[in-house]
């Protein structure tokens, strides 16, 4: 249902009663100063507030999911602006944006029309709170000395810097030099990444599991269409149904197309280390689903005629 579908004469929620449709916002905020509010593109605050209120009413009173999606899209620049403040703390910016988007969606879903506050005012602490919670929850599953944790975080940044510079994955020696560490320390620090928990970004925005609730990946990322172009044979591979689109796509590229992690990173638009983590996590999921990657289930054996 679009905002116009059930429009009636003198409908107080008629979009055309507003001064105009707000244009999409750009994302060139440098993260300096106050976070960008979604009303800076040739439109006054009053008009923006009216559009917010209109969309919030469409969603809360009429259950209009498109209005909700439009609000999410409109406020993503605010999420990105806030996420950028925390991007220097060792976590990937894209991850922080996705986590911040959870806060935004919660704010939209919980917004009380009667309270008379702007959505920006209500959403900002929700977004920041979600990002802070992410840092707090994202702990180490086993005790890892702080020095190694810090080196691990530093290495993630160094790898991100070296891959585009070298046009290939760096060697341990190159990492050691760039991070002012010994090769042994680098190896040890990279080992610790095994002990690092990663928060699933595929969770439903509202934390529930209904099929109608799209995962964040359905809202974010620029390459979603490519996820659907996998050959059917990959999609039908045992256990793959339990993986989300992006995980399936990455495993397909790695194990069926033969792309390297760096090549996948470039294609998907995330870092090589992130690709590495996603591959490891996806294989773990497959192991849980079909018993073991190395231990195919009986149906798989039957397909092979064994």
């Amino acid at each position: 249902m679009t905002p116009h579908d059930d429009r009636r004469p003198n409908d107080p929620l008629d979009l055309e009663a507003l001064p105009g449709q707000r244009r999409p916002l750009d994302d060139d905020d440098d993260g300096v100063g106050e976070p960008r509010k979604p009303d800076t593109k040739g439109r006054g605050r009053d008009e923006s507030d009216k559009l917010d209120q209109y969309l919030l009413r469409r969603y809360h009173l009429y259950g209009d999911r498109k209005a909700r999606e439009q609000l999410i899209t409109m406020y993503l620049p605010l999420v990105r602006s806030l996420a950028r403040r925390y991007a220097s703390r060792g976590e990937h910016f894209d991850d922080l944006v996705q986590v911040g988007a959870i806060g935004l969606i919660k704010a939209i879903d919980r917004f009380d029309l009667e309270r008379g506050v702007e959505l920006t005012t209500y959403a900002t602490p929700n977004i920041v709170g979600e990002i802070k919670r992410y840092f707090r929850d994202k702990g180490w599953s086993v005790r890892v000395p702080r020095g190694l944790q810090e080196l691990n975080i530093r290495l993630n940044k160094v790898i991100d810097e070296l891959v585009p510079k070298l046009q290939r994955s760096p060697t341990i020696q190159e990492l050691a030099e760039a991070a002012s560490a010994t090769p042994e320390e680098v190896l040890e620090a990279l080992e610790t990444s095994q002990a690092y928990n990663s928060v699933s970004l595929q969770a439903s925005p509202n934390g529930e599991g209904g099929e109608e609730d799209a995962g964040l990946i359905d809202y974010l990322g620029s390459d979603e269409e490519a996820y659907d172009t996998m050959e059917d044979r990959t999609t039908l591979a045992p256990g793959f149904a339990k993986l989300d689109k992006r995980e399936r796509y990455i495993l397909h590229l790695r194990f069926f197309e033969g792309l390297t992690q760096s090549q996948i990173a470039e294609r998907v638009g995330i870092s090589q280390m992130h690709v590495s983590r996603l591959i490891r996590r996806s294989l773990e999921k497959l192991r849980e689903e079909i018993g073991d990657v190395d231990n195919p289930d009986p149906s798989l054996l039957a397909r092979r005629g064994e």
Binding site: P170, I172, L175, L190, E191, A237, G258, V293, D294, P296
Partner: protein, 131 residues
């Protein structure tokens, strides 16, 4: 340059940790990239898991060798038919992300070498392999 390290490991997953460390050290000497090392870790870990599932062994041997710009990893001796079929299936399933596909994607060579009525699994990863 040729150098060989032989270890005998307990048939349990925790025994893979020191193997990883040795692989990391040898890979560093070959100037492997981070990705190449991760490929090697992934391949050997999944082989390790398959061995634990298929074989009823208390311990088995692992040999790691640097030779001609490549790292040779060999494990065995094994006798399990199931393990062998997972590594070199008679009829590969094109849609399956199985051990066979995983090893062949992450390593340059995968061999099953006969050895006194048993066999060893040999994985080769070269310095010049992709990534």
């Amino acid at each position: 340059m040729s150098e060989t390290i032989r270890v005998e490991v307990a048939a349990e997953l925790s025994a893979f940790t020191p193997v990883r460390l040795v692989l990391g050290g040898l890979g560093t000497r070959l100037e492997f990239s981070v990705e190449q090392l991760e490929d090697l870790y992934l391949a050997t870990e999944h082989l390790f898991r398959a061995v634990l599932r298929a074989e009823e062994l208390a311990r088995f041997g692992v040999e790691m060798r640097l030779d001609d710009g490549a790292l040779w990893f060999s494990a065995g001796p094994f006798t399990s038919r199931e393990l062998r079929e997972e590594i070199e299936p008679a009829a590969p399933d094109g849609a399956c992300l199985d051990l066979c596909r995983l090893l062949r994607t992450t390593c340059d060579e995968v061999q099953v070498a006969e050895s006194d009525g048993a066999y060893r699994v040999v994985l080769v990863k070269g310095r010049r392999s992709p990534a």
